[in-house]
């Protein structure tokens, strides 16, 4: 199975170290998809609504899947999730939560708000690799995302 290299992945992650780790792992798995990164909740919304610093589709294309951290600066990841899932034009974009929080309340809340998956960031690096591998294989390779509306 091959990745569909043109489909953009949006990563909402405030920690540079975590993002660097993710990038390294994805490089190792030869992920070809363009990866976009936002570091705050406000940025994620700006990116999707193409406002503020993200006014051109060239800088901010519509992502086919979003990997979302919960504890984001600015608007919290939980609220970003709710906003996107309540917006008719974005609710179909798969959102996978990627967070350190293994709190059952968070898991429950995120699925209530329409999350498509919930991945806990493990401490152990080989565990982390397995998790990222699973994400890539399912969401970037096996899964068919909704067709991108022009």
């Amino acid at each position: 199975m091959t990745t569909r290299p043109n489909e953009p992945l949006l990563v909402a992650e405030d920690s540079n170290e975590d993002f660097k780790m993710l990038q390294r792992l994805m490089q190792r798995m030869t992920v070809q998809n363009p990866i976009y990164r936002c570091t705050t909740g406000d940025e994620v919304l700006d990116f999707l609504y193409q406002v503020g610093d993200y006014q051109s589709p060239a800088i901010a294309p519509r992502p086919s899947v979003i990997l979302l951290d919960l504890n984001l600066p600015g608007i919290d990841g939980r609220d970003v999730l709710e906003r996107l899932k309540q917006d008719i034009s974005f609710k179909e974009i798969p959102i996978v939560v990627f967070t350190t929080s293994a709190n059952p309340k968070d898991i429950e809340l995120c699925y209530q708000r329409g999350a498509n998956g919930y991945l806990v960031k493990p401490m152990d690096s080989s565990e982390l690799e397995k998790t990222v591998q699973a994400f890539v294989e399912y969401w970037l390779e096996a899964n068919t995302p909704p067709s991108v509306i022009s």
């Binding site: 405030d14 170290e17 705050t40 600066p73 608007i75």
Partner: protein, 730 residues
């Protein structure tokens, strides 16, 4: 009111009805003092023939002795059969003899033969009624049975059971009648229809019989006597007012039997006939007996009915209390389902008021009206339980909502907290159908009100304005019981709350201790990580390539960041345990020091500080407040991208209360949706690289300090132009 229609007292009219004769006697010789003038019609005698004579002048000695015995109570008031010789032969009479205060009275009613009893068997008439009465289960069923039995006994066209309410107004509660007559069942009659003296006579005599209401009355002829008291007389003439009243109704013959309960006139069995109708004394005795029997059983049936009502009410209450004590939402439990709260006091509407929160149930005035009513009650009502069936009289604005609340029952659960339950009843006019316009029984004559019998008996819905049905004592009890129950529930909840509070305090203390200890212990391995990374970088730099050195640098900066986070946590947990060291503090001095310290650690900072006017001296913990200022000013410095950044510190107009201080800048500002979240621990609005990073603990610490002082902090901002943080310190 001047009731001018009765020229003579109703109990001593000085005349009788024409279907019998009456003699007033003087004991012990039984000398005739007064005699009815119709003695001529019945006996062919002139009154003068008898006046001053002993009774034996009229009847034979044996019969006179029997009369004497009845007077002394040796014989009860069963009629004696008398025969009197007249010039037209022997005539037969039923005779009743009794004493009044001053005289003895004998009343005679003609009968066809001395054996009349044989046509009517008292036993046959009464037998069976008793067992039937006992087998009826409800009060209405019982009253209906009584009405039917009386109609069977008397053959009257219409027999009604008429019940008085506490105001004296009456209502037809049972009725049986000739099929072609229009029903009176359910109609109400004003108290004036049966004046108080008439009611007293009913209560004394049990029975009132008028065979022909239109027959002219017969005067009592007397030598020199005052009108005698005819209260106990069965022949007493009919009051003119009563005659006209019944004639207007089309009634020709009338029989009324008293229904007594606990020595009070509870009601009447009222019998109407539309042509003159005579009843023998035996039938009347049977009727009277039936009335007495019914009165006895009435108390029973009322008690049973009340008991049933009470049991029902009690189960309603306990159901309500059960759900209150289990519910988390107290008001919800009270008002859902709505009929339960209403039937507790037989109200049509209710309002539950908890402080400023008012919930309405059923038919009520609107929210504003209820609010004003409670405001009024707050100052005017001191009783825990207050009931009125005439609210507009004491609270005139309620005229506006008389249709829902002419009656008010107010239960005060807590005056301090303004916890009330209010029940409403509508104006009675909405629910009562009167027989005829009761107001028409009053006529104004030369400025005085007089009673006059009504002419119209058409149904009429008018009279008692602005009043509701009265609240019964058991309904008030029910409200009181509810209060007791609620107080019990509230007390239990308060107890639970106190316990939870205690646990919360303990766990809060533990948490602060934990955070402090944990922070301390966390720092130790952290120092190790930092120090060992430093050793690697310094002593083994030649073994690492650029990437490796970069990774080690990241470890160092991450461990520094973690230390900053732990320090913030430590600071907050210490604040949680802190005791305020309050003292009068000159804010100008405090601010100067804080600014000096701040700029000492940031020598390159370019920012102008504006203090437009002298700051006050206030009571506060100077060390902590200094921390507030340096945090806010350092934020103003950090989040500013203008060419000429400035920060302004001042206080807003103090109007009596504690001053409101502010720190204003011309920085990047904060969007409205972040105005609350910025005060959360470790909450940041920007990524680490921007605006010099930070832990996101500063404002959380500031907020904690302000709240420790009993104050409040908030922000106002125009994004892109600047922000102003306001805070107060009590």
């Amino acid at each position: 009111m001047n009731l001018t229609n009765h020229e003579k007292p109703i109990h001593a009219p000085g005349s009788i009805q024409s279907h019998g004769m009456l003699l007033v006697l003087e004991e012990p010789e039984l000398k005739v003092l007064q005699v009815s003038s119709n003695i001529k019609t019945y006996l062919g005698l002139q009154p003068q023939d008898l006046l001053g004579q002993p009774l034996s002048h009229l009847i034979d000695p044996q019969q006179a002795i029997a009369i004497g015995q009845q007077l002394t109570g040796e014989n009860t008031r069963n009629p004696l059969k008398l025969s009197i010789s007249t010039d037209r032969g022997k005539r037969y009479f039923d005779a009743i003899a009794y004493r009044t205060a001053d005289e003895a009275i004998v009343e005679l009613e003609p009968i066809d033969s001395p054996n009349e009893t044989s046509f009517f068997s008292f036993h046959a008439a009464i037998a069976g009624i008793l067992s039937q009465i006992q087998s009826t289960s409800s009060l209405p069923e019982f009253l209906q049975l009584i009405a039917e039995e009386v109609r069977k006994l008397t053959g009257f066209d219409r027999v009604m059971v008429y019940q008085f309410d506490p105001s004296g107004a009456g209502c037809v509660v049972a009725e049986t009648k000739r099929a072609d007559l229009s029903p009176y069942l359910g109609l109400h009659y004003p108290a004036t229809d049966i004046p108080q003296p008439a009611r007293e006579l009913y209560a004394r005599c049990w029975l009132r019989f008028i065979p022909n209401i239109s027959a002219p009355s017969v005067d009592l002829i007397t030598l020199n006597q005052q009108p005698v008291d005819l209260s106990l007389s069965i022949l007493r003439s009919v009051d003119a007012c009563c005659v006209e009243y019944h004639r207007n109704m089309g009634v020709a013959a009338l029989l009324a039997i008293a229904l007594m309960q606990e020595q009070q006139l509870w009601g009447l069995i009222a019998c109407h006939h539309y042509t003159p109708k005579y009843l023998t004394s035996e039938v009347r005795i049977a009727c009277k007996f039936l009335g007495q029997l019914a009165s006895l059983e009435l108390a029973n049936k009322i008690r049973q009915q009340e008991l049933r009502d009470r049991v029902q009410l009690k189960s309603l209450q306990s159901e309500l209390i059960e759900s209150i004590s289990q519910a988390s939402n107290f008001v919800e439990a009270l008002i859902q389902p709505a009929p339960r709260l209403l039937s507790l006091t037989n109200a049509t509407g209710a309002a539950v008021c908890l402080g400023n929160e008012i919930s309405l149930v059923g038919a009520t005035p609107n929210l504003e009206e209820v609010r004003s009513l409670i405001d009024w009650a707050d100052t005017q009502v001191s009783d825990n339980l207050f009931a009125t069936d005439f609210l507009p009289q004491i609270y005139p604005p309620s005229v506006e909502f008389k249709a829902t609340a002419s009656g008010l029952l107010l239960l005060q659960i807590s005056k301090i907290r303004r916890y009330y339950i209010l029940w409403f009843r509508p104006e009675v006019i909405q629910t009562v159908t009167w027989a005829g316009d009761p107001n028409s029984s009053f006529q104004l004559e030369n400025g005085s009100v007089s009673l006059s019998p009504r002419h119209s008996f058409e149904r009429w819905q008018e009279t008692v304005k602005l009043k509701s049905l009265p609240w019964q004592s058991y309904e008030l009890d029910s409200a009181n019981d509810l209060k007791t129950a609620i107080v019990g529930v509230v007390l239990r909840k308060a107890e639970e709350l106190a316990q939870i509070n205690q646990e919360l305090k303990r766990s809060n203390r533990e948490l602060a201790a934990f955070a402090y200890a944990a922070s301390h212990d966390l720092k130790e391995p952290l120092r190790g990580i930092y120090n060992y990374s430093t050793i690697l970088l310094e002593d083994y730099a030649q073994l690492l390539d650029l990437d490796g050195a970069d990774c080690l640098q990241t470890i160092k900066s991450l461990s520094q960041r973690m230390e900053a986070l732990i320090d913030a946590l430590l600071r907050l947990s210490l604040l949680g345990k802190a005791q305020l060291n309050l003292q009068a503090t000159d804010l100008n001095e405090l601010l100067q020091q804080a600014i000096a310290v701040l700029f000492a650690s940031r020598p390159d900072a370019q920012m102008s500080i504006r203090i437009p006017r002298c700051l006050p001296t206030i009571e506060c913990d100077p060390v902590l407040v200094s921390e507030v200022f340096s945090n806010l000013i350092s934020n103003a410095l950090k989040y500013n991208d203008k060419a000429d950044p400035w920060v302004e510190i001042g206080d807003r107009e103090r109007s009596g209360g504690s001053p409101i201080l502010y720190v204003r800048d011309n920085g990047i500002g904060i969007q409205a949706h972040h105005h609350e979240t910025i005060f959360k621990l470790f909450k940041r609005l920007h990524s680490q690289e921007k605006y010099g990073g930070g832990t996101g603990a500063g404002l959380a610490i500031v907020k904690k300090i302000v709240e420790l002082h009993g104050g409040r902090i908030w922000v106002e901002s125009v994004p892109g132009e600047g922000a102003t943080f306001y805070f107060s310190l009590k």
